[in-house]
């Protein structure tokens, strides 16, 4: 009920700001007001950047008045997950370990946002070091779902998705290792893309599992998501795994309706664990697309059955190594004790700097890489990964895209799954396959059940985000989500 200005689709807002119909200063101010009002209720942000954002907005408005050309994100308040480095701003990764770490440099994606005149309005909450599916494992408290604050927001990019759903930002960046963009996008009813591995630079993304993770755009509608992806994607010489294919400008071909789209419905993504209302909601969309003239067919990815254990073994193994650098020497948490040897101090710093879930994953990852177990776990998991990738390659010879539920369940109550880590891991069952295969996958809102969001996942072949955006647009046009149903989801 706050202010209509926040409700205007973001891709439209940029135009209005550039046309001087709306000032960036007004937009930023309204957003900051919204943040002040809503934050105590949902805790989406760890750091809010107030003064600098207003200054930038004023500066930008001046430039626009002077007739200077501005970037494609000019004047937009953009939230960035707190595992992505922004210079001179704290980058905490939701952890006590980096509670006071101020990043000395900008991630490539942050640089790109700044180059496009986007305004970084704050750093959002996440599961500690991106390890989680519900944003309940943050040192800075959990993020609540704006649709129902007794429910989780999804994770690990819960803060980013919740900030968007509650109009506390225009666009947001998240990262996705095993579903960390798609999970909160689904739970908060926003659009979240996990790009093809290598499509967006990882330079400046604090690493959890480096062979699986990607930074991705999150937005309230698909066109804004595509606009954001255009700005952040592309080759980066500072990331050796960044792909040197020329990035497609997705907003160019956005209006085109895909012809003869062959849709695959993989059975393994509709297994026992998928709630009935979720299945119903997703099938509803499939039938709508059928009604528009697109064909679908059920298909199989038999190896996907083993995706979850393979994912966790690989992710935890890599995590145990990626998090080794946090010893309190060059930065990070330090215990007050003195006069002990380095081994003891490091061990104390790490025990006290890391939360329980992180410690556990490090222990497991150390085990799965250790002598005598490497072959049985890490190597085996990587071989299964090959088989899963082969399954996807086969299926994409026949189909253009695959549709499936993003999450197996509707948003659950806070605290419900904390006692049993395995139960929480199981929530990733539909999202991890795309990370293992490196393919792009987007989550689009497709309905509500008992007032709680459900997301549909569109997967495509490597570097075919265009198919995802085009299909997503179709779905968006044909599905209506009643935002008034949510606690903090209407302005």
């Amino acid at each position: 009920m706050v202010n209509r200005i926040l409700d205007i689709p973001v891709w439209e807002i940029v135009k209005k700001i550039a046309n001087q119909e709306i000032s960036s200063e007004e937009y930023i101010s309204k957003t900051l007001e919204r943040i002040q009002k809503i934050e105590p209720k949902i805790n989406a942000y760890i750091t809010v950047i107030k003064e600098a954002s207003l200054d930038k907005a004023l500066e930008l408005d001046k430039q626009i008045i002077q007739g200077k050309t501005v970037g494609r994100l000019a004047g937009l308040p953009i939230a960035i997950k707190d595992s992505i480095c922004v210079k001179n701003i704290k980058t905490t990764c939701g952890s006590r370990m980096l509670e006071n770490f101020v990043s000395p440099y900008n991630a490539t994606v942050a640089e790109k946002i700044i180059q496009e005149d986007g305004i970084i309005i704050g750093k959002t909450n996440l599961d500690e070091f991106a390890m989680g599916t519900s944003t309940e494992h943050s040192y800075f408290g959990a993020t609540r779902n704006p649709w129902d604050s007794t429910k989780v927001s999804g994770g690990s990019s819960g803060g980013s998705a919740a900030a968007l759903a509650s109009f506390e930002a225009a666009l947001a960046l998240g990262s996705d290792t095993g579903g960390s963009i798609r999970s909160p996008a689904s739970f908060c009813s926003v659009v979240g893309l996990k790009p093809t591995y290598g499509a967006v630079s990882r330079f400046g993304l604090v690493s959890y599992s480096n062979s699986l993770e990607q930074i991705g755009p999150i937005a309230r509608d698909i066109q804004s998501c595509a606009l954001f992806m255009d700005c952040i994607g592309g080759h980066d010489i500072r990331d050796s795994t960044s792909n040197n294919k020329v990035p497609e400008q997705f907003t160019d071909s956005f209006e085109e309706t895909p012809k003869n789209l062959k849709i695959g419905i993989p059975n393994e993504f509709f297994g026992e664990g998928i709630q009935e209302e979720v299945q119903k909601s997703v099938w509803n969309v499939v039938h709508k697309l059928e009604g528009l003239g697109f064909h679908y067919e059920k298909t199989n990815l038999p190896m996907v059955k083993y995706a979850l254990p393979a994912y966790y073994i690989i992710a935890m193994s890599e995590a145990s190594s990626n998090l080794a650098r946090y010893d309190g020497l060059r930065y990070g948490f330090n215990v007050p004790e003195k006069n002990l040897n380095w081994n003891t101090i490091f061990s104390k710093n790490r025990r006290n700097g890391f939360g329980k879930e992180v410690r556990q994953r490090i222990m497991l990852g150390t085990y799965t890489l250790s002598a005598g177990y490497f072959d049985q776990y890490y190597l085996k998991a990587q071989k299964i990964r090959t088989l899963i990738k082969q399954d996807f390659d086969k299926v994409f010879k026949k189909f253009d895209i695959l549709l499936a539920p993003s999450m197996p369940i509707i948003p659950f109550t806070m605290g419900e799954k904390l006692k049993d880590p395995l139960a929480l891991y199981m929530c990733d069952v539909n999202t991890v396959p795309a990370n293992l295969a490196g393919i792009p996958s987007i989550s689009i809102p497709c309905g509500l059940s008992s007032g709680l969001p459900i997301g549909i996942q569109i997967m495509g072949p490597p570097f075919r985000e265009d198919l995802l955006f085009k299909t997503g647009r179709l779905i968006e046009e044909n599905v209506t989500i009643d935002k008034s149903a949510g606690e903090f989801t209407n302005v």
Binding site: N100, V102, P104, Y197, G198, S211, S240, T241, N243, M303, Y306, P309, A310, Y312, I313, A324, D327, L329, R330, Y331, G332, N334, N339, L340, N341, W342, N343, T344, I345, S347, K348, R350, R351, R359, Q360, I362, M363, L364, T366, Y367, S370, Q376, Y377, L379, K380, A381, Q382, K383, I384, R385, T386, L387, K389, P421, L422, Y425, L436, A437, G438, P462
Partner: protein, 98 residues
Amino acid sequence: MKKTYQPISEKDVSHLAELARLELSRKDVTEIRLQLNKILDYFKMIDDVDTEGVSPTYHVFDLVNILREDKPHSPKPKDLLENVPKKKDRYIKAPRMI
């Protein structure tokens, strides 16, 4: 080939904690041991997969030979040293070795 799953002992947990430099209390060790064994028990389903002759996917796409020119940049050490908790005359101070 199916491998027999061996549960982790408390000794194993302590050894892992040492490798990972995590100082664990008795309570920590007991708790972690339970969770680790539960999760490892779940993982063992991967033994069912025949991976004979399959090579691992260490890199998901075929990029090779990504190289950088041997040209130096101008370092900005001051920025980087801001976060160092303990310093002395530009050195980073570490706890004693022994």
